[in-house]
Amino acid sequence: MNAPLLEARGLARHFRQRGTHRVLRAVDGLDFTIEEGSTLGVVGESGSGKSTLARLVMALDRPTAGEVIFAGENLFTQPSHRLARLRRGFQMVFQDPYGSLDPRQTVARIIAEPLHLDPEAPRGTARRARVTEVLNQVGLAAGDADRLPHQFSGGQRQRIAIARALISGPRLVVADEPVSALDLSVQAQVLNLLMDLRDQQGLAFLFISHNLAVVQVLADRIAVMYRGRFVESGPADEIFRRPMHPYTRLLLEAEPRIDAPRRQARSSAPSSRGEGADNWISACAFAARCPHATEECTAGTPAATAVAPDHLVTCHYAGQI
């Protein structure tokens, strides 16, 4: 088998909280691979560390421990000129199509921006032709190049952001909540575009979202993130058919569904996210919220256990619940 396109080993990013000795473990020891042309979907709630993970994979931040290897090269041991060249291979799409585009620059300039740092990038008419090419790939017209971002709708702006990510001919696109700010009718257009790009250009994605249903559209594999760790990972279909971690199940149950019966007037639960859950370093991070938690769960950190080929669950009771 070929080496994976991207590999993360023991990846961790800890932040020291100002004025205290407390350490926030935003990303806490992740191992994963992304194969050429395949999509890893990372699902997690706010504060799970998924955006910090995206920044590490993009080499926009340095890890506290561990490494990221892209196409065989360790991103954090490269001299800056080599890292700049490697960056052609991985690009990013952000959540907010309003905040991520400079309102004073033309679409052509915005899209061509990743090329500015690259001395070998095409210039002049060749650059212009390349801008037209990626505009067409995302479903916009060549004439849109001279317009300004405010002249576009949210969905079109996200297409511009995708075109910017494509211009350097990347093999991996890191997409952090790329459709969360879009209306439902437009969200489907953008997800379809990402799938087309995956199929036509063999792009791989690290696709990050809080929304399981959205992740499932694109992902071949899914990792469920909770407090900096993957609590469950495996093939997308397997995760949905046989979710094994209590947190994955909680997420699946909590998701509103149009075919679910109306909420019964049962006695509702108190707010579940109190404090006092910070001492989980030597415990399962989910123990404080887990309906199945026992003493063992607060006594030791669970290890990832394979419950099926390629299906890992980080739970003391993996496969038993």
């Binding site: 709630e45 706010s46 709708s153 949210g154 969905g155 079109q156 209306d183 439902l184 009718s185 437009v186 969200q187 489907a188 257009q189 997800l191 379809n192 799938m195 995956r198 199929d199 809080h210 929304n211 399981l212 249903a213 959205v214 499932q216 559209v217 071949d220 997308a236 279909d237 949905f240 058919r241 909680l250 997420l251 699946l252 149950e253 909590a254 998701e255 509103p256 569904r257 149009i258 075919d259 679910a260 019966p261 109306r262 909420r263 019964q264 007037a265 049962r266 006695s267 509702s268 639960a269 108190p270 707010s271 579940s272 996210r273 109190g274």
Partner: protein, 327 residues
């Protein structure tokens, strides 16, 4: 309490005025739940503000908003102030911006009690604590003296609900109450709202862009598009057998999870049904049906005049001349 909207229209004053909401009528019975669903720009938040009389300056409402038969649009500000505090409660999307950051949460809840229920200071605080327990705030007595920034997002929204409940309203309007929250916290807040509505005779208007939330909460569903109503009926019927192509398009565009994954090639070949284009902005509406430019079922007859609102089944109405094709 019964709420009836009759031909409500909202416009931005100017020459000529810019229409923002047109032809909104519905009736909400005492104890009923109505879900209003729409994408951004559909006018659903503006509608909520019009009902409680908090339209931004420069906007004008016409038509009638009848609360137990009394037209709110004709009321002087002093009377309206009493109505919106005491009889209609509102919950906003972003609990951090709806709360006063420099005031303890207990005092914020008590404020409405002092004003609207004329309680004394001690009685208001005791009642505020009871409300905080009512919305299932953990350790309510201790958190009573907290400031909003010391609470999680879900806890803040519980405070927002307690404030709305304080004067004992008969109608609660919740505008995207869980959009800023994580999915597990969202589920807790929706459970709480369902419980509060079920145990009182309070009516609920729940505004959301999420059809799944509406399905779980509302007996009736009203679909808005570009400033007007497109379909209204019993929630199950609207979601299972929509009569408007827009409603159907929204339902089909929802990513469905857990579709059986046959083999990888089939799975990768799947695409979502999407609606081309985007929601038109106010002032850029084509004549005729507002959705015609994006509608796969549009025919020439959709363009010249705006379709009328018509009832096709008992208490199931639609604005579309092609609705029969979906029956």
């Amino acid at each position: 309490m019964k709420l009836e909207l009759e031909k409500l229209a909202v416009s931005l004053r100017g020459e000529p005025p810019l229409p923002l909401i047109a032809d909104m009528s519905f009736r909400l019975e005492e104890g009923g739940t109505l879900g209003i669903v729409g994408e951004s720009g559909s006018g659903k938040s503006l509608l909520a503000l019009a009902i409680i009389g908090l339209l931004p300056g420069g906007m004008q409402a016409k038509g009638r908003i009848l609360l137990d038969g009394r037209d709110l649009l004709g009321l002087p500000e002093s009377e309206l102030c009493h109505v919106r505090g005491a009889r209609i409660g509102m919950i906003f999307q972003e609990p951090m911006t709806a709360l006063n950051p420099a005031m303890r949460i207990g005092d914020q809840i008590a404020e409405g009690l002092l004003w609207h229920r004329k309680l004394g200071g001690a009685a208001a605080r005791a009642e505020a604590l009871r409300l905080l327990e009512r919305v299932r705030m953990p350790e309510a007595a201790r958190r009573f003296a907290f400031y909003p920034h010391e609470l999680s997002g879900g806890q803040r929204q519980r405070v927002g609900i307690a404030i709305a409940l304080a004067p004992g309203p008969q109608l609660l309007i919740a505008d995207e109450p869980t959009t800023a929250l994580d999915v597990t916290v969202q589920s807790e807040i929706l459970d709480l709202l369902a419980e509060l509505v079920a145990e009182s005779a309070m009516s609920l208007i729940l505004i959301s862009h999420d059809l799944g939330i509406i399905a779980g909460m509302a007996e009736r569903t009203l679909v808005m598009y570009a400033g007007t109503r497109f379909e209204e009926g019993p929630t199950e019927t609207v979601l299972r057998h929509p009569l408007n192509p827009y409603t159907r398009g929204l339902l089909q565009a929802m990513p469905q999870r857990g579709l059986p994954g046959t083999d990888e090639r089939d799975r990768r070949a799947r695409r979502l049904a999407s609606i081309p284009g985007s929601v038109p902005q106010a002032g850029h509406l084509a004549p005729g049906c507002r959705f015609a430019d994006r509608c796969a079922m549009a025919i020439p007859a959709c363009r010249p005049v705006e379709p009328a609102w018509r009832e096709l089944a008992p208490r199931h109405a639609v604005r579309c001349i092609r609705a029969e094709a979906l029956l």
